[in-house]
Structure formats: structure tokens, C-alpha cells
Symmetry: C2
Subunit: 314 residues, 2 copies
């Protein structure tokens, strides 16, 4: 039985049921342990499974996570039980890269200021206008999403420097550095973008020292996970003018509390964790699911797309 812990839009649900006729489906809006006991395949957004559910996973072989965030899942325990976990990480690349480019271009072309002047019916031509052309960007996490950001930045003639643990080559990156090399490379960057997942290694990877190393007019963007950098570090960098602007789509605490000082800075943009949103999201997710159902039915669990490394946590 294929058990969904959410209830998809009727048109998408009907499409699923008619394309996978041979299987029994169940859909509920919360985890139902009685159904979980009978499930062979579980489809979830990844935020509703805890260690308490493990004893009920009797027949479970595969968890399909219809999102990229798996940090709330009991990964080690799932590994012990021999359950395969795959997600849809590639799916976010288009909306996320479009969001990142939107924020970068907005900053370079001063749209936020233009909108404010517009509110006041002010025709003010004295807004700064920079060109993205010829600038340099460091992309922390040059995987599927980071690579798509790199591809688009290159189309704008931006030099892309990928930054990952090993410094190993990645697509659409003109240069590569390792996490250890980041501090040295920062003075060169006009834009620093993170799309890193939350792991032990990426937690607090960005510190006050990194902001001090950045150009004073650099743009820092966190579109991965809030654990990358402490809120206080962001506030200090803004207060000290160590960075030109910051755009975050993710925060240590979400929703960002109304009393947070981050809301108050002119140079700060708070995006409410929406950069991966897309009106076409679930449609694409289910395309991946259907494709992988065939792989699963062939018994090729090891060949599922976007299989999660349950030890590394990504």
C-alpha cells in the first residue's frame, strides 16, 4: 500500500491514481499509525515523522519525501531499519534559482528603492544602478540548486566560484574552493550565496570573521538553512556596515519573530522561506514519484533518484 501523509489537489491525485492503477493508495492529513503499519511506500513532506513512528514501520521499504528538507527525519534509525529514503531535491532548482536571481537583480537595479519612491508618487531618477555584468559570486553548495544559480549567473557574465567541503569541481562554476578556503576568497566576492543544507558541518559555518572579510558593499544571501549563521552574527554585520546588503529566505527561528532586530535594517531583506515555492511544485514532485515507482517495482531501490545518504544526512 502507498500511504500519503498529505492530501494532494484532486487533479493531481486523480492523475496519480490513474497512472498507478495496480497499487492501493491511502491519503490522510496526519500520520495514522494504523495505516503506517500497512504501508510499503510512504509519501510525506518530511516534517511529520518522528522516532515514535518507527515501531509501526513494519512493511515500509521506501519513503518518498516530496520536499528537500529531511533534517527533521530520524535518519539513522531509518537506516538501521533498512528503509530507503529519497527526496525531490532537484525540483527546487528552478524556482529557487529564479528567486535568487530576482533578489540579486532587484538589488543591483535598486527596485526596492524605486518601489518606495513609487508609493510616494515620486519620480526620482537618482537611484543607484549597478550592473551585475562582470561581478563575482561565491556559491556555497554548488549542487543541483547552486548549479542552476551558477548557470544563470554565468548568462549574466558573472564569475562563479563554487564552495563545497572538498573543493571538488562542480557544474557551472568557473572556480572551486573548499570550505577551508572560503575566508581567503571572500574579499573577491560581490555576492555570496548559500544554498547549503543543514548538517553538522554547515552549522555556524559563517561567522563574524567571514563578514569582516567581505567587501563592504557585498551582498550576502542565505537561501539554504538558517543554521548556517547565527542571527546575532547577521545583526552585527549589518550594524557595523561590514556588508552592503543581506537577503535571507531562511532563519535560525522561523517564522522570524516580530521583535527580531533583523526586520529593522534598511539593507536587510526578509523573505519568508518561499524561494522554493512554485505553482508547479507538486505536479513536478509527482512526475518524479511516478518515474521512481517503476524503478521501485523493478526492485532497484539502490537506483532511486535523489536517494538520501542516511549517514551524511543529505
Amino acid at each position: 500500500m502507498i500511504y500519503f501523509t498529505f492530501d494532494p489537489r484532486p487533479d493531481l491525485k486523480n492523475d496519480l491514481l490513474s497512472s498507478i492503477r495496480e497499487e492501493k493508495f491511502e491519503f490522510t492529513r496526519q500520520v495514522d499509525v494504523e495505516l503506517l503499519k500497512q504501508a510499503e511506500i510512504l509519501v510525506t513532506y518530511g516534517e511529520d515523522l518522528t522516532v515514535e513512528h518507527l515501531p509501526f514501520m513494519n512493511d515500509l521499504k521506501w519513503i518518498f519525501v516530496a520536499s528537500a528538507g529531511i533534517e527533521k527525519m530520524p535518519l539513522k534509525e531509518l537506516k538501521e531499519k533498512g528503509i530507503a529514503v529519497s527526496n525531490v531535491r532537484g525540483i527546487h532548482k528552478t524556482p529557487m534559482a529564479e528567486s535568487v536571481l530576482a533578489h540579486i537583480l532587484t538589488a543591483y537595479r535598486s527596485l526596492k528603492t524605486i518601489y518606495k519612491e513609487e508609493e510616494q508618487k515620486n519620480w526620482n531618477k537618482k537611484v543607484p544602478s549597478k550592473e551585475l555584468f562582470g561581478s563575482t559570486a561565491i556559491i556555497l553548495g554548488p549542487g543541483a540548486i547552486g548549479g542552476e544559480i551558477g548557470r544563470l549567473l554565468q548568462a549574466f557574465h558573472v564569475k562563479t566560484i563554487g564552495c563545497n567541503r572538498s573543493g571538488k569541481k562542480a557544474d557551472f562554476m568557473d572556480d572551486m574552493i573548499s570550505f577551508d578556503g572560503l575566508l581567503n576568497a571572500l574579499p573577491e566576492a560581490d555576492i555570496v550565496i548559500s544554498v547549503l543544507p543543514s548538517t553538522e558541518e554547515t552549522k555556524n559555518l559563517i561567522t563574524a570573521e567571514h563578514f569582516k572579510a567581505m567587501k563592504n558593499d557585498a551582498m550576502f544571501m542565505n537561501f539554504g538553512r538558517g543554521s548556517l549563521v547565527a542571527t546575532d552574527v547577521l545583526i552585527e554585520a549589518l550594524e557595523n556596515g561590514e556588508v552592503g546588503s543581506i537577503v535571507c529566505d531562511v532563519f535560525e527561528e522561523e517564522p522570524l519573530p516580530a521583535h527580531s532586530a533583523l526586520w529593522n535594517f534598511e539593507q536587510m531583506t526578509v523573505s519568508p522561506h518561499v524561494s522554493s515555492h512554485s505553482s508547479r511544485y507538486l505536479e513536478r514532485s509527482f512526475d518524479i514519484f511516478k518515474r521512481n515507482m517503476k524503478i521501485y517495482k523493478n526492485g532497484d531501490l539502490a537506483n532511486l533518484e535523489n536517494l538520501v545518504n542516511l549517514e551524511a544526512g543529505y
Copy 2:
């Protein structure tokens, strides 16, 4: 003598003087007829020359216009006098294409709404998020600027349809249509962008009929010249919901008067004719001027870059 009717930034001026040592230069902030009489080459932004200046152009051979807008110049009279006019039209392509992409992505990723919510310290995830990927754009005026817009849109997997007088093939356009075919093609477009210059043919090219033919959620952008479409036509389209949003960088009357109804629409963005602005503008202009000085000195006036067709007006 090379006569500038504006006074450039000292660093750029010094660079000019030291790279063209053999010529005499004059710089004033307004047209001085005594200097004009002696000038062989005139460098202007194109907005300060009138028919009254013609009798003083005794020695003038070449006018270098450090902008793209030449519609205020007495072109026919200059032709009669045998004076060559060239401009820097290619120079605008980078900042303008970046501006156009900024506005498109902002709309697709709802940044204007996100900024408004941010002002209120609202963490509101319920903002619409569309993907640019897979959409269709019509580009009116697929020349240097339109082509650069097309190139970038194609990087975002947007289908580009160029629209010019003849329907003749243009770079970075998946399809081509002529002005006559526009009305038929509009129902297909998610985005309609004009970067057309102001000529007899482009004046009021866009009418109420065109807006009625557009998708109700289409985005219309005028980044060429305000004469393309009457202000009343824009207001009517917004009032009737015939278009999803409008972004204009140019208007029939500039500055857009504070009493204009265009300021009042939520779906309207007023950009104060800044899309071509760039902190690197004059630097690039002077690079073109220096390059063309060599062509001029060789007596090759017919081979100057961006030579203006004084009859056609572009």
C-alpha cells in the same frame, strides 16, 4: 576641435585627454555657439541641439551622441548638411536587459508583495510564486537591447518571439513576427516587452485592441519610448483587468505627473526612466568614442559604429 556639450567626470576626462593627445578639446555645460562654430566633432547627450544651432555648424563633420535617444535632434537638417551622426545604442543593452529581467523576476516571485509584508514585519508565506521557466515572451524591437533581453530570457527557458517591422530573423528569438502579426500572437504571450525607439511607425503602435488580445494575467512592459502607447490606453487596460501587470520605464509625459492615475494601480509599476542607467555608462561610451576616433581619423565616416540612418531616424 572636439567639442563636448557636457563636462565628464575628471577621471574619465583625463583618460580621454591622455589617449587622444593630438586633438584640441573643449567642454562646456551648455551649447556655446562660438565653440560650436569651431567644432569639427561634437559630443552630446543628444537633447541640446536644435535647428537654431545649424547655421553655426560650419566645420562640423561628426556628432557623437553619448546616448541612444536621438529623436530630439534635427536629423533631416543634419543630413542635408552632410554631418554624420553616430550614437552608443549598444551600450544600453546590459543595464537595460538586467532591469527588464529584474522586473520580470520580481513579478514572478512576488517580491513587491514580500517587501510590503516586510515593512509590516509580517511573515506571510501566502504569496503567489510563479516560474518564469516555460513561459512565452514577445519582444518588440529585437535589436541590440531586445536581443540581449532575448538571450537572458532563453537562459531562463522562456520562448522568445521577436516582433519588428518586417518579421525578419533576429538573434536570440525562437520565432519572429511582423508588426502586422502582433495582434494574432498576443494571446500566446505571458510577457510583452517593448524596447522600440520613437519613430512615426512605432507611435501608438499599441492600442486598446492589443490589450484586449492579451492574456488577463500577462505582463506588459514598455522600456523603449513613451510614444508607443497612450497613457489612457494603459489606464483603461488596468481598470478593465485586461492585463495582469504593467511596468513602464518610459511615459508619454516625463516625469510622470503626480496627478497621473497610473501611480494608483496596484498592478502598475512606475520606473522613472532609469533602466539604462549604469555606473559604468560613461566609461563605456568613451571607449566607443575612442575606438571611433581612429575610424574617423582614417576618413572612414561611413564605417563609424552605430551610424544613425538620418532618414529613418534610428
